[in-house]
């Protein structure tokens, strides 16, 4: 019985988490779309400050992660394509898999680790130090004051970082293709862009918008739920990052399925 009890409890817990996160999403959207018409404008100053922290300061790590992913992808696929005598297709393989799949997902995972953890740790430690309650008693909505700027900033910055990640991955593939596999530079570029279509880019970017919302909402939710001092903050941060990772992969699978079956 104990196993079933535990399974039931875990399921109930996550169902509750799901509905509370849904509430948080609704409240966040309220402050984004309805709040400004009720004399509660969005704090753009704070949004821009967060954009610097989340976007600009993530550029280097996203660049290197995606550059090396492009390099590895080219190196791994080259021997296989060589057997078929089609080495120059490395260009299209790398470009399309980066733009459709690896760019959005890996960028989101890097950002979830860097930013999702930071969001949870910040809001969580404010929570255990009574600061969230203080905002509440001052009739300042913690969602509007803390969550909305982070949400909007990620919403704008993750797609930008994804474009950058796509470009870095492309560069990685190009470097291997031209300097190691001796594909002519012009041929590489032509093969890459011949097969790449605009929809490859925008399906990737539409994914990254969903991932941005996942990271912001999961991070903020775990922060607002934090209890139990420093240990609680640590635990919430771990849960936040792990949950974001899993949800990003699941969402990616679902979205890819939708694009696959609807011929997008």
């Amino acid at each position: 019985m104990n196993i079933f009890e535990n399974i039931g409890k875990t399921i109930l817990h996550w169902v509750r988490v799901f509905f509370k996160s849904l509430e948080l999403i609704i409240e966040t959207l309220y402050w984004v779309f309805v709040g400004p018409f009720r004399k509660k404008p969005i704090k753009w100053g704070e949004v821009f400050a967060q954009m610097v922290f989340m976007g600009i300061q993530s550029i280097i790590i996203v660049f290197f992660v995606m550059l090396f992913t492009g390099v590895v992808l080219a190196m791994q696929s080259a021997p296989q394509l060589e057997k078929m005598g089609a080495v120059f297709y490395v260009a299209s393989l790398v470009t399309i898999s980066i733009c459709r799949e690896l760019g959005p997902v890996l960028t989101a995972l890097v950002v979830a680790g860097r930013i999702g953890a930071a969001i949870t740790a910040e809001i969580g430690s404010m929570n255990v130090n009574e600061q969230i309650e203080a905002l509440d008693t001052m009739a300042i909505s913690p969602v509007r004051y803390l969550v909305v700027p982070k949400f909007l900033s990620l919403f704008f910055m993750l797609p930008c970082l994804t474009v950058l990640g796509d470009a870095s991955g492309f560069l990685g593939g190009y470097l291997i293709g031209v300097f190691n596999l001796n594909i002519n530079s012009g041929l590489y570029l032509q093969t890459a862009f011949d097969f790449l279509e605009l929809r490859d880019i925008y399906t990737g970017l539409s994914k990254s918008i969903i991932f941005a919302m996942i990271i912001a909402i999961v991070g903020s939710y775990q922060g607002l739920q934090t209890q139990g001092g420093a240990v609680g903050v640590g635990r919430a941060t771990t849960v936040s990052v792990v949950t974001s990772f899993v949800l990003i992969i699941i969402a990616d699978c679902i979205l890819t399925g939708i694009y696959f079956f609807s011929d997008l």
Binding site: M126, N129, E130, Q131, E133, A134, L135, D136, T137, M138, A139, I140
Partner: protein
């Protein structure tokens, strides 16, 4: 006392957390302009009582009336307007640590008024000098001592000129002199600004220094309410043991 106007009326408040009863049928009237102290040991439910009065926790049973309005039935906008008439000073001061002292104090003004930023700065300076911290505007909370942080917390609590200020353990963790400073501050503010103060504490010295009336909570029940003198000469053995801090008596720590 009966001729005084009631500021806050708590009626038959009961509260349970996950089946554990924290407050049991507590009724309490707090009059305008008085300093009311809720005392009790750790786990007596006094902090919960305070949070129910501020509206941070909705009680399982009973209601809080503020100006004859029930906190429970207000919509968001009314609740916000009501909350602006409260100030609260937290046990850990709860200052936002990414803001300076001045920004912390001016935060509620920025959020809830259309005042010019110059005027907000002047008000923040004024509030800070009321708590004796003029000149510390540009410090960050982490650069201040515990007592100073609490005073900034008080300055923030009175920033919006509230009618009622709640203090949660204002002297916890402070040295005796800093305690006395905070106590004097609470008294001064209550008189100067004609505030109603509700203080939760277990520091007996400050209870008798600041209280107009005292209520003793024990295991979620309100045992006794009276003036400090009445409490001092109480015949209730629990109250007696609590104010003298005797080891022998009906209160057992587990």
């Amino acid at each position: 006392m009966s001729d005084k106007k009631i500021a806050i009326s708590a009626q038959n408040i009961s509260q349970a957390f996950e089946g554990r009863k924290v407050l049991d049928n507590v009724s309490l009237d707090i009059y305008k302009g008085e300093t009311f102290v809720i005392m009790g040991g750790s786990g007596s439910g006094k902090s919960t009582m305070l949070r129910i009065m501020t509206g941070a926790i909705k009680p399982s049973l009973g209601k809080i009336l503020f100006d004859d309005k029930d906190l429970k039935v207000l919509d968001d906008l009314q609740e916000e307007q009501l909350k602006r008439r409260f100030g609260m000073s937290f046990q850990s001061a709860a200052l936002l640590d990414f803001l300076t002292v001045e920004e912390n104090v001016s935060l509620p003004l920025k959020e809830h008024t259309n005042l010019d930023s110059k005027i907000i700065r002047i008000i923040a300076k004024m509030k800070l000098s009321l708590v004796g911290l003029a000149g510390f505007e540009n410090y960050y909370p982490s650069m201040l001592s515990g007592g100073m942080r609490k005073r900034v917390g008080v300055a923030r609590a009175i920033a919006m000129d509230p009618e009622v200020v709640f203090y949660d353990e204002p002297t916890a963790g402070l040295d005796p002199v800093a305690c006395a400073v905070i106590d004097k501050l609470i008294l001064d503010l209550t008189k100067k600004l004609k505030l109603t103060s509700v203080v939760v504490t277990h520091n007996m010295e400050s209870v008798f220094r600041i209280a107009d009336r005292v209520g003793m909570l024990y295991q979620g029940k309100l045992l006794e309410v009276g003036t400090p003198d009445e409490i001092k000469h109480s015949s209730n053995p629990i109250v007696k043991q609590f104010i003298t801090g005797a080891l022998e008596g009906p209160i057992h720590l587990t």
